[in-house]
């Protein structure tokens, strides 16, 4: 289905990543946004507030983040596409209802402009330290999809993709952006509406008496109904059967609970998006996502100038994780270098898939800034020179860490 031209602000803009994500949401057909404004995501709210009313979208400033995410889940069940926007502390507050959304198989998009944490952290500066929270933040077993854009143009493009994935797989989609991309202003081209594909809601159209709200289609995703349309709906956060009625026995918990993870895991090949370059004969492969993958290319260029064979694997979707791809690369390359703006998160999944076949080097960054490309280049060089297999993670000592900690804290005897 093509996008509704009403929501598409076709043109060439010079805007920041936050605003681009807001415009992307409207282009995707988002009609309801509820949120509690928080730095550094505020410009996305402003974009929705400013443009939303012109295209028939509603924004409500809620009392807090719990209310915000609850409101969009309710609104989604009324039949519209929805989004909430947040950062850091707000993201923590939303965790319970991310699981609620996953349990109810509610399509929505959550835009997280990551900042330095924990707690209030560094509100106006960047971070990528919510990555594991985006995977495991809510309690219980569930799977969802996380996307990490690297530019304002991608914030527009991938926000649309996020809405499409949400409808397709009926689950919450996390846009795991960060302050650097959110506050970065660049040229953004918004195409005409007929160039934008949007996924419509998978609505049930059969006889009312046959409708089962959680009965899976062949791809494991059930068809949805709009509340108030006359179909019988029973929706609960309790583990439920195809009718939506609570179940509590182990066999049913297994049967109905399993589908929440399997509908993502078994459709993984259709969901995962990677950008791979120069990995074929590479000794070292840089694995990264979001702003770090962009800065990493500068480091890769520097390393290549020294004659090192280095490739890149960019995780456009970080979750679900590309296990098979990573295992395959681990058989060919000597080492993975993983720069991320945290003290080690996605790197653990890289190590899990490397399975001891390739060394894994973490290039950490504590946040409030992005990597120095020279550090990434040096880490690549170090990894290329290492001929021994080293168990566990190798942590690269960055210039920044050396200058402030002399290479890291040590316990005193």
């Amino acid at each position: 289905m093509k996008a509704d031209p009403r929501g598409v602000l076709t043109g060439v803009y010079y805007i920041d990543g936050d605003v681009a994500a807001g415009y992307g949401a409207l282009a995707a057909g988002c009609k309801f946004v509820a949120g509690y404004p928080i730095t550094p995501s505020t410009e996305a709210f402003e974009a929705i507030c400013h443009r939303g009313p012109q295209v028939g979208a509603v924004f409500i400033q809620m009392e807090d983040e719990l209310g915000s995410i609850s409101a969009i889940i309710g609104a989604t069940w009324s039949g519209v596409k929805t989004m909430t926007i947040t950062s850091g502390p707000g993201y923590s507050l939303m965790q319970e209802c991310i699981g609620f959304g996953a349990m109810l198989e509610t399509p929505f998009v959550l835009l997280n402009i990551q900042r330095g944490g924990p707690s209030t952290g560094v509100p106006t500066k960047t971070g990528q330290a919510d990555m594991m929270q985006s995977r495991w933040g809510s309690h219980g077993d569930y799977e969802l999809i996380a996307i990490a854009p690297e530019s304002p143009q991608e914030m527009f493009d991938y926000t649309i993709k996020a809405f499409n994935l949400a409808e397709k797989y009926r689950c919450p989609i996390m846009i795991m952006s960060d302050e650097c991309v959110g506050h970065m202003t660049e040229k953004v081209v918004i195409p005409e509406a007929d160039k934008i594909e949007v996924e419509p809601r998978r609505l049930y159209t059969g006889p009312a008496e046959d409708y089962l709200p959680f009965k899976p289609e062949p791809d494991l995703v059930p068809k949805m109904a709009k509340a108030g349309d006359g179909l019988k709906l029973y929706i609960t956060g309790q583990t439920h059967d195809e009718r939506g009625y609570p179940v509590k026995d182990a066999e049913y918990k297994s049967k109905y609970g399993r589908r929440l993870v399997d509908k993502i895991r078994l459709n993984k090949d259709k969901i995962i998006e990677l950008k791979e370059e120069g990995t074929d004969n590479a000794d070292v492969i840089v694995v990264s996502y979001g702003i770090s993958s962009r800065v990493a290319i500068k480091g890769v260029e520097l390393a290549r100038e020294k004659g090192i064979k280095v490739g890149t694997l960019r995780l456009v979707t970080v979750w679900p994780f590309p296990d098979e791809k990573m295992s395959e690369l681990a058989k060919k390359a000597k080492a993975f270098v993983v720069p991320e703006i945290n003290y080690g998160q996605v790197v653990y999944d890289v190590a899990r898939c490397a399975h001891g076949r390739a060394n894994v080097v973490l290039v950490p960054h504590g946040g409030a800034g992005v990597h120095n490309p020279n550090d990434i280049a040096d880490a690549i060089e170090m990894a290329a020179k290492e001929d021994k297999k080293i168990e566990g993670l190798i942590e690269f000592k960055t210039r920044l860490e050396k200058s402030v900690f002399e290479g890291g804290f040590k316990l005193k005897e």
Partner: protein
């Protein structure tokens, strides 16, 4: 590639300057231009700066490492960002608001009473645009035509005429300043 820092205090249009120059470079000169802003908890009156990286190819590292150009509209901005300047860099400053120290290396300095010119034009709010005209003439990072197209899109409609006047004032002053600098180098 050119790394440009605009520095001043909140309310002077420092971020706006980065946006206008970036819009001109990326949309009308077809270059790559990445603008990032930094701000403290303060709004109006606090220290404020924007950074713009202009390049023929994609900007991979979005921040300034060594600025090629520092545009200083306040003493505090100059003091804070002078140390990050390249030794080959250019310093553009409002001569009534910034007193530069002895120049390092091969840094060249260009002065303009931008705020005074803006006041003469009727509103000191366009001091940043006077400075942008000056910046365009001297640095040649963005073309005059591109700036003339980007400017009206970046200001309220009722202020377009004043802004274009402010831009021309700075631009013409900049052409003369560049000429003077060229002549003095020849001598």
């Amino acid at each position: 590639m050119a790394e440009i820092r605009f520095a001043g205090y909140g309310g002077q249009g420092i971020i706006r300057s980065g946006i206008i120059a970036g819009r001109a470079a990326s949309i009308y000169d077809n270059k790559h231009a990445t603008m990032s802003q930094s701000f403290g908890p303060e709004a109006r009156g606090g220290a404020c700066s924007s950074q713009l990286v202009v390049s023929e190819s994609k900007v991979l590292y979005p921040y300034i490492t060594n600025s090629d150009i520092l545009v200083a509209m306040s003493q505090a901005g100059y003091d804070k960002f002078e140390p990050e300047m390249s030794e080959q860099g250019m310093l553009l400053y409002d001569e009534d608001l910034v007193k530069p120290k002895q120049l390092r290396g091969n840094i060249t300095a260009y002065a303009i009473p931008a705020t005074r010119f803006a006041e003469e034009l009727g509103n000191k709010i366009v001091a940043n645009v006077v400075m942008l005209g000056f910046f365009t003439a001297i640095t040649e990072v963005v073309s005059h035509d591109a700036m003339k197209k980007a400017l009206p899109e970046s200001v309220p409609e009722k202020a377009v005429e004043l802004n274009l006047k402010a831009f021309d004032r700075g631009y013409n002053f900049g052409l003369e300043a560049a000429k003077k600098q060229g002549d003095s180098k020849k001598n």
